[in-house]
Every structure is written in structure tokens, then in C-alpha cells.
């Protein structure tokens, strides 16, 4: 972007300064507070669900994550389908996007959106339109981190 800025004509730069003055700023602090509370609330619900699985099913703290994540994604699917999650997202921002429910929402909203183009080309082809890059870079960074850990272990650092 920095190089592009230089390519602008003086007229463009002058206009952008003028425009900046009128541009409504994001209320960053307010958004952070909202995100903190809603994100925390979602995580508290997740914690309650994982305790539920520990109490009533054979899950230990180590592997209770799997059913909990599945449940949270299911809940976010319901909320997305009922049209609640996008409103929550507008209110909470990162608070509802960062937990796994946000990932579920990204997958499901795309699936709903492209239902009209059929199951194969529509739902199948577009379901991971938004979430695909999360999966790709998530897997890739996990690979890199695992590689570093293995190498460090081999050299005896860890």
C-alpha cells in the first residue's frame, strides 16, 4: 500500500485528506469492550458445555474439546440459520468472530447463501469460500510450528 500512496497524484492526496475529515471512525475502544464481553460470554457457554460433557459422559479435560467444539458449531449453525448471528456479529465484532462459533458461522452462512446454485456447485463449491483460507493457513502454520518443535526437540533445546 505504501508504494501505491506514492503513485497518487497530488490532487488525489489532497482529496483523501479532505475525505478523511468526514469519514466516520470506528469506535475502537467501544468495539473492544463489546467484543471482550460477548467473546467471554460465548467462551463461558463453551466452558459450561465442556463441564456438562465431563460430568455426564466419559470425557476427560484433555479430549472434552472435541464434543464441545462440535456443540458450539452446531449452536452457531442454529443461530445463523435463524438470522441472529449476523446481528450479534455487527454488535460484537471480533467477540463473535474469533471463537469457533465465528468459524461455524462463516461456513454455514456461505452454504445458505449459495443454496440457490444447487448442492454440488453451490453449497459444495462455496461452503468454504470464507473459511477455506482459515483452514489452509491454520493447517499450514500448525505444520510449521510442529516442524520447529520437532527440530528443537532433536537438537535437544526443548
Amino acid at each position: 500500500m505504501a508504494s501505491k500512496q506514492k503513485n497518487m497524484t497530488p490532487q488525489q492526496q489532497k482529496y483523501q485528506q479532505l475525505q478523511q475529515k468526514h469519514e466516520l471512525k470506528r469506535p475502537v475502544l467501544k468495539n473492544c469492550i463489546k467484543a471482550f464481553w460477548v467473546g467471554g460470554l460465548i467462551c463461558a457457554v463453551g466452558q459450561a458445555i465442556s463441564y456438562f460433557y465431563i460430568y455426564f459422559f466419559h470425557f476427560t479435560e484433555q479430549n472434552v474439546g472435541n464434543p464441545t467444539v462440535a456443540t458450539m458449531v452446531f449452536l452457531s449453525m442454529l443461530l445463523t440459520g435463524f438470522g441472529v448471528y449476523d446481528r450479534l456479529g455487527q454488535f460484537a465484532g471480533a467477540g463473535s468472530a474469533v471463537p469457533v462459533t465465528g468459524f461455524g458461522n462463516a461456513v454455514i452462512s456461505a452454504a445458505i447463501e449459495h443454496r440457490t446454485e444447487g448442492f454440488v456447485l453451490g453449497v459444495g463449491g462455496n461452503m468454504f469460500k470464507l473459511a477455506g483460507s482459515v483452514i489452509l493457513f491454520g493447517v499450514f502454520s500448525a505444520f510449521v510450528v510442529a516442524l520447529i518443535k520437532t527440530l528443537l526437540g532433536m537438537w535437544g533445546v526443548l
Partner: protein, 155 residues
């Protein structure tokens, strides 16, 4: 927004009410929320009750640990504990230290050390059942071995 908040309240109420149904055991119900400090237990009568109490004291001496359940079986001894919340960052170190202390002091014993809530919960349940007589020694031993297996599955 009001709708979302209402939905969350309802969801949490359902979760809570489902917790309070059915089970009649007292301590184990709240085992995850408060310190229970159950009596250390042995599965076989007259086999090392003194020893487990000694172990319990040693474990309780750790500053980071505020709650511990110890069950000694025929071969293995299960030590489950909860660490203070702010000490959870040092979980690994605490487990290592505890293991070392126990191994040094009781080289003959075969310890299984865990801080998992699930294992703790099951241990408390086992102790309660043992104490109120619904488990015989044999049943208790069997259950202990199941719990130990659960622990080893995790690792």
C-alpha cells in the same frame, strides 16, 4: 440484542437444571467448583491407610495445590489434585515437582499423578461410594483400574 441475551439465559438455565437432577452424591456434584478434600482412601482394608494419609499431607504441603484426592489400590496409587487458578500456567512444572517428590519419598509405590478435572471427579465419586458402602473393595479396585486406564489413554 435482548433476544440474544434471553436465549443465552435460557440455555444456561437448561444446563444448570440438568446438573441438579438425578445424582444424589453430595460432594462430587460440586467437585469442579469448590474444594472437596476427600479423605484419602485405600481399596483394600488395613493396607496402608497410614501411608495414604501421609501422602495426602505431603501433597497438601504444595502451596499451589488446594485440593487433592488420593486412592491407593493393590498396585497403583492415584493422586489427583487441583491447582490454584493463577498457578494453572505452571501446571507442567507442578506435575513434575509432585512426581519427583513422591517418587523420591516412596520409591516402592507406583504413582499415577493427574490434575484432570474428569479424573478428580471420578476419584471423588469413587471415594464417596466406597465410604457409603455402595462399593465393595473389589468393585472399588476395579473402578480404580478403569480410572487409571482413562488417565493413561489421555497421554
Amino acid at each position: 440484542m435482548v433476544y440474544i441475551i434471553r436465549l443465552m439465559i435460557i440455555a444456561s438455565m437448561i444446563l444448570m437444571s440438568s446438573c441438579s437432577q438425578g445424582h444424589t452424591e453430595e460432594d462430587s456434584q460440586l467437585a469442579l467448583m469448590k474444594a472437596t478434600n476427600p479423605n484419602p482412601t485405600v481399596t483394600e482394608k488395613n493396607n496402608g491407610q497410614d501411608k495414604v494419609e501421609e501422602i495426602e499431607k505431603k501433597v497438601s504441603n504444595f502451596n499451589e495445590i488446594y485440593d487433592a484426592a488420593i486412592i491407593k489400590g493393590k498396585e497403583a496409587t492415584l493422586v489427583v489434585y487441583k491447582v490454584k487458578h493463577m498457578q494453572r500456567f505452571n501446571m507442567k512444572k507442578i506435575e513434575k515437582d509432585l512426581n519427583k517428590t513422591l517418587e523420591e519419598d516412596y520409591p516402592k509405590e507406583n504413582f499415577t499423578v493427574s490434575s484432570d478435572y474428569k479424573i478428580f471427579l471420578e476419584a471423588v465419586r469413587l471415594i464417596e461410594r466406597k465410604n457409603n458402602g455402595s462399593y465393595s473393595d473389589k468393585q472399588a479396585e476395579k473402578r480404580l483400574n478403569e480410572i487409571l486406564k482413562m488417565t493413561s489413554d489421555m497421554k
